[in-house]
């Protein structure tokens, strides 16, 4: 955006204010986005967010890829918790197909989603702290994130771009040793969250920097289209895992933390409590995880295993048909939403019966949240803008798609 196109306020014409350019490449933007701020001293008079630096045209690409081929692209939406995007997308396609995945696949999806939520909240809280200056808390909690990525690597072969789900199930079952490793990780992570809370929750500097910053009422938050932790921090107990359960979330026992003011401190508290609740859910999954298939038993959806492709005529035909012609999709449109770390991640898919989706729309949770940024920081200091940006957890890959 050229500077002329920003409608400047009167002060700028008088020469009293200063334009500060935050980004596109700036350590606190966590990705490439740009905010042009008009300052009077240290106070923000106007801010103009500009995005699109990470726009890769995911929706356009999806129209020329088969349903299975789109899964790796979902990794690159919210790259801090890619498994949750994989789950959200395949869940939408399964809704279109009208199938349900086997029990073990559901449990593993819940397990992986909650690990990813834990990792995502660690990134958000840790990085928010480091932006404000609390470097120690960041390092303490960051170690746990590495362990989560080790677990992902163990299960999927990849740390970040997991592509773990397939339509009708999972890429594979978790390997031996994954469950004990997760069990070992949980108490360590709980201890680290306790440490994080000791460092931040009652820290007067942290209070000064986060309380009363980014306050939003419940009504405004709904009007801005907030979902996820930011909406819950404003006092609306909306969590799709409770409100519209999927993958058997209704059978798990967990609480939905809710804030009151919606400020950065409340968002921090909500996220920390959600981390504890995620650990609770993971424990329940591990307790009830039962052996079984992880893919639906339907050769028109699931690829046959390699040994069968090489030895059986039927399987070879199914393999060929699935790869060359894709799945038989019903004609219709579905919108499927899952509770991702940032809020409601929606996939709106229109099928014309062909191999590729006719239209695929990704509803990113952080786009509506970030669109309120200019109102949230107006009249605050430039250092507060950094705190608000961190607490919104804007992930550019998801924002720009």
């Amino acid at each position: 955006m050229i500077l002329d196109s920003i409608a400047l306020s009167r002060q700028q014409v008088d020469g009293d204010t200063m334009i500060v350019n935050l980004g596109p490449s700036h350590p606190t933007t966590h990705g490439t986005l740009r905010i042009i701020m008009e300052l009077s001293g240290e106070t923000i008079i106007k801010s103009t967010p500009e995005m699109g630096y990470l726009h890769r045209g995911v929706e356009k690409l999806g129209e020329s890829l088969s349903y299975q081929q789109f899964i790796p692209l979902t990794d690159r939406l919210n790259y801090c918790s890619s498994i949750m995007n994989n789950v959200g997308y395949t869940h939408a396609v399964e809704k279109l197909l009208g199938i349900e995945v086997p029990k073990r696949a559901q449990q593993l999806r819940v397990l992986m989603s909650e690990l990813a939520r834990l990792g995502d909240h660690i990134v958000c809280v840790g990085v928010n702290a480091v932006d404000i200056g609390a470097f120690t808390a960041f390092l303490y909690i960051w170690k746990q994130r590495e362990t989560i990525y080790d677990l992902f690597e163990m299960a999927t072969g990849q740390r970040l771009h997991t592509s773990f789900t397939r339509i009708g199930g999972l890429f594979r079952d978790v390997p031996e040793g994954f469950v004990p490793a997760t069990e070992r990780f949980l108490p360590e992570c709980e201890a680290a969250i306790d440490e994080l809370e000791k460092l931040l929750t009652h820290n007067p500097i942290w209070h000064d920097r986060t309380k009363g910053i980014g306050v939003i009422s419940a009504e405004d938050a709904v009007n801005w289209g907030y979902t996820g932790p930011c909406l819950r921090a404003a006092g609306v107990p909306q969590d799709l895992r409770k409100a519209q359960p999927y993958l058997g979330y209704e059978t798990y026992d967990f609480d939905v933390p809710v804030g009151t003011t919606g400020d950065v401190f409340d968002r921090y508290l909500v996220r920390v409590e959600e981390m504890r609740q995620s650990i609770r859910i993971i424990r329940q999954v591990l307790a009830r995880l039962e052996p079984g298939p992880v893919n639906v038993d339907d050769p028109k959806i699931t690829l046959p295993t390699k040994d069968k492709v090489y030895t059986r005529m039927e399987s070879l035909i199914h393999h060929f048909k699935l790869i060359m012609h894709g799945m038989e999709m019903p004609v219709g449109e579905v919108y499927s939403a899952t509770e991702a770390a940032n809020g409601e991640l929606g996939f709106y898919i229109i099928s014309d019966g062909g191999k590729n989706p006719y239209r695929i729309r990704v509803r990113p949770p952080c786009l509506p949240i970030f669109s309120s940024f200019h109102e949230q920081v107006k009249g605050f200091l430039i250092a507060d803008a950094v705190a608000v940006l961190g607490a919104m957890n804007v992930i550019a890959g998801e924002l720009d798609r």
Binding site: M1, I2, S5, M51, G52, H55, G57, E59, K60, L61, S64, K95, L96, G98, D220, V222, N223, W224, G225, T227, V236, Q238, A243, Q244, G332, E333, V334, Y335, A337, E344, G346, Y348, I350, Y358, R359, R361, R363, L367, P368, S371, S372, D400, R401
Partner: protein, 162 residues
């Protein structure tokens, strides 16, 4: 169910409807859209989840603008579709839903559908002089002229750089 309410309160508004896999969809005419939005808002559909559009190049009118609403109290979802022709403006919802601001800008950017009454209808994801609208079906997948420095000839750009 909200659709029965709409039929009772605003008869004749819904021109077409279908339900598929539990999703309720209604199609309404552009003229009755704002009245319907007012009614939905009063009925509790206050979270505007998403605005997007779909291009049907062979159909007349060409585009569907698709709205998704969520009622936080009853957790009911509703999809509303409005058909518009190429170049025809949709009424903007920015005065009622602040979240419509960026969603409408994105639809304008990607499909070229203008929104009447929008305070700042500029492109959101692509740059301001980007040629064409990327999610239209006739826009080439490789990006075409937008990424070609010189000597471009493509129908949507009249051979000129934007």
């Amino acid at each position: 169910m909200i659709i029965e309410h709409i039929d009772a309160e605003l008869p004749g508004t819904v021109t077409d409807r279908h339900a598929f896999r539990g999703d309720q969809t209604i199609v309404v005419a552009k003229a009755s859209f704002l009245a319907l939005v007012d009614f939905l808002y009063r009925e509790g559909f206050q979270l505007l989840v998403d605005i997007t559009a779909v291009d049907w190049p062979e159909r007349e009118p060409r585009f569907d603008v698709v709205y998704h609403w969520l009622n936080l109290a009853s957790q009911e979802r509703l999809r509303v579709k409005v058909a518009v022709a190429d170049g025809e403006a949709m009424p903007s919802l920015t005065s009622r839903f602040k979240t419509a601001d960026w969603f409408e800008r994105e639809v304008f950017d990607m499909f070229g559908i203008p929104f009447e009454g929008h305070p700042n209808l500029t492109r959101l994801l692509t740059w301001q002089d980007f040629p064409g609208h990327a999610l239209r079906k006739d826009f080439p997948l490789d990006g075409g002229d937008a990424f070609c420095m010189e000597g471009c000839t493509a129908p949507y750009n009249n051979g000129e750089r934007g």
